[in-house]
Symmetry: C2
Subunit: 315 residues, 2 copies
Amino acid sequence: MRVLIALGGNALAGADGESRPDEERAAVDDAMESVADLVETGHHVVLTHGNGPQVGNLLLKNELAAEQVAPEPLDWCVAQTQASIGMLVMNALDRALRERGRPARIAALVSRTLVDADDPALAAPTKPIGRYVTEPEAAVMIEHGQHWVDLGERGWRRVVGSPQPRQCLDVAAARTLADAGYVVVCSGGGGIPTVHDEAGLTGIEAVVDKDLTAALLAEELHADLLLIATDVEAAVVDWGTPKARPLGTVTAAELRKYAAEGHFAPGSMGPKVEAACRFAERTGRPAVITALTSIAAAVGGTAGTRVEPGLNDLP
Amino acid sequence: MRVLIALGGNALAGADGESRPDEERAAVDDAMESVADLVETGHHVVLTHGNGPQVGNLLLKNELAAEQVAPEPLDWCVAQTQASIGMLVMNALDRALRERGRPARIAALVSRTLVDADDPALAAPTKPIGRYVTEPEAAVMIEHGQHWVDLGERGWRRVVGSPQPRQCLDVAAARTLADAGYVVVCSGGGGIPTVHDEAGLTGIEAVVDKDLTAALLAEELHADLLLIATDVEAAVVDWGTPKARPLGTVTAAELRKYAAEGHFAPGSMGPKVEAACRFAERTGRPAVITALTSIAAAVGGTAGTRVEPGLNDLP
């Protein structure tokens, strides 16, 4: 069975999300123990991952060094996090698999995600990225053409457009490697946001939601299961109330109904739910949302929120 | 014919080597025109590249932001340049090939180079990297455990170990993709320097010479030709004297003799000559050193310094 695992960027960083390299390495080591548990059972795994804390660090360095080094655009920074995380993932997973007596080949691809140049999200940036800064710090970057918003007590934060993923441009390479038996790491950070215009393919200053890209990638790779790994065991309705109830197996239609009722936080569980529904609806195959440490159990059907296609979604 | 092209990092940066992103993008666009000329003739191309100016920018940002963001180690920075350059190369080469009516699939791999943990070069760092800084700036980084040297009028510069490449750890993935018809970008910046110790594979703070890695990669990929692209048309003996003479076809043994006589600058033409000799000697196949704009002619045998195996090197 081919399983696409989407790992949260926070699962690959230190506890405070502003991680130091040694904390990030330790977090990746931990995460790969869970992934190795799944690979060990014989499933074919493709990995994608978030990059929020990591890209935040690169953006902050851009700003602090801007007087002496020209800042690198956001698409470059997304690419860069693919490589530093990809390297850590390859080394850690290699180690975890060897310890289990199940060595496997692993490859990490620099990977781009095609978006529409006229996606409305690009004209109205709302996705917060990077760290909080003070108003005067934000003012400097606003002068440089960036969009920043006042988020109250915690300070100002940059916002960028988060367009819909249309195509994983490097999926054919991922498929070639996966078919040859590799564990493939690709489309990290949602993939490098890329438009196709008169000059060909060009990276742009945006971020693509990593869970939505994961759903598209899973579809394009004909994955049997999309596994969205996060820090909670399941999607929960009535979260934070006495009626709170974790969801087990649900149809995409049921889950969409809960989403419409506002049960899932935007920017957090919201996009995971949307990604799981999209995959189930488009492919007729299931998606699971669960904790990173429960992914092997989730594939076995004993953990997480399992999103099944509805009767209308079956191929 | 499978051709491995090694591109200099300066060829992918602005003229002053301290490039801005738009200058770097333009330089990559130019370089890919030359590469596309070669791909168009039907040769199977694998690309590797330097990253000196690019990694220098990341290191300087590390230093300028060190009080607020933990600096990322050199192996991370090497990885990051693989991805940002890899993305630019994929987009630019895709465009150049489409304009020629010869679209091809292109992939860029995050790639590690195995080095010996006890390589003597790691104990005695001599390879200068990054920009020149003032003595007080260097002093801060020396306190952080880095090695910096006084290079006179231009200032201080960091030095790191440059160990010998032993194995391109991700060559199997590169071969899988190349065999499937991809133009593959790999081992950028000499590859991420990696040791194998009791904890498995771990990146280290070092840089591997990109030309020496290119020779190893070409050997491991069974390339028919190693093509080292630089900013001069040929290796020159008696450079800067009235007797200056560009070399045409030479044997590796002849070229080594010139090298021993001190005709080639260390850190510049020196490693290119060493890489070309190694490839010819180990494989019995030729290597060419020439200008980026002459690579198509060089493959045809009408440009550059062509290093042939000696009689003793033939398989």
